[in-house]
Symmetry: C2
Subunit: 225 residues, 2 copies
Amino acid sequence: MAPKASRPPLSRERVLAAAVALVDGHGLAALTMRRLAVDLGVEAMSLYYHLPDKETLLDGVAETVVDEVVAAVGPPVGEDWKAVLRRQFLTARDVMLRHPWAPGLLGTRRSVPAGVFLYYEQILGTLIGGGFTYRLAHRALHAFGSMPLGFAQEVFSPATAGGSMDVEDTEESLAAMAEAMPHLTAMVAAELHAETDPTLGWCDSQVEFEFTLDLLLDGLDRLRA
Amino acid sequence: MAPKASRPPLSRERVLAAAVALVDGHGLAALTMRRLAVDLGVEAMSLYYHLPDKETLLDGVAETVVDEVVAAVGPPVGEDWKAVLRRQFLTARDVMLRHPWAPGLLGTRRSVPAGVFLYYEQILGTLIGGGFTYRLAHRALHAFGSMPLGFAQEVFSPATAGGSMDVEDTEESLAAMAEAMPHLTAMVAAELHAETDPTLGWCDSQVEFEFTLDLLLDGLDRLRA
DNA sequence: AGGGCCAACCTTACCTCGTAAGGTAACCAT
DNA sequence: ATGGTTACCTTACGAGGTAAGGTTGGCCCT
């Protein structure tokens, strides 16, 4: 009687896949060597046979998401450079929404995942094909920032689950806030009312993402040689 | 004989100041409770009398840099909204350049430092005063991203000290790279030659920052009601 | 003067984590 | 069989965050 149904042997790929799954489900902080080993039905030190250390593991996880984005984006299709990039960036965003921890991870990596270079080469090709000089294309890449990877700079996290706004001091302190920050208060009021349009709620980042993207694309279009 | 010249007693402020100094000098990873305590001539557990835990410490450090930025930026001066914001954001950048670790820290915080709200209120006031609708101003704030705080989204760190590009494979692999990524190679070549203009070197981020900033400001100006 | 109080700091100890060092069992070719 | 290789495990250490409780000096009140 075979004692174990014998799980498939470990491998770098299997480890990385498990790591991504772990982080997707429980957040970056949950990714420890021991916990990951448990998920794989293995002892912690066994992971070191396939990866030198945790930094490398994190690099691998970063590489994995980047590759997933690049794969989803695919090659440029169409004529108009603006439409091509717009579609690609929005596709990247679809993938990134499934890995909300990825921006934070990428920010901590010291090396750039290999796939990024090929991806940027391809974007650059689209820009050049669209009539950009190398100089303007270069600046465009910088201006895009992380949009090719599907996220805009959201410095402050969405304050995920419960917390930020407690229901404690709703009375006078709210009034005090309104007095100290009249414009913000007015903006919130104005924007909350105008919810008949294609907005998914207060500060729907999809709309904001597209707005910023189009702002950049149109601005660059105007500067194009 | 007084055994110790008696250092001033600890306080939240002194602890935070020491933490910022530590991180400025040795990086975020060096900020441990024990090390920070040593810098303050104190035992680690003494810090817990002034701060509940490390997360709160990090929140405090984030708050400290934000406050430093806001203080440096000061109130809006001048008439033209565009000039006002431009100057303010560039001032913020000057401060941020002294704390290159700050973007990464802010990205990990769950709560938004209090000073940010007042700062954004002030920016919003400038926009409204400049003829923006609340709707457009709202989107402008999102489009600015982290620029008000002085940094653009630099997803991939500058690969600080030695490492990224080893001198190992300079011959054929470089040629292979050039073949795989013709546009990137051409761009590097083109941009390296054109170094007679006000650029501090390859990918000088000051120039890129200003370019992106102006791209956004001009784009918004055109959309203004 | 003496007793109580409390702020500020310290001592010990526990648990989690990353990982160095070395062991072991199965398999494979000679 | 025998030596080697592959894939995994056992043990152990040191760093780091922090819970629990101890110590000390100054201040106030009577």
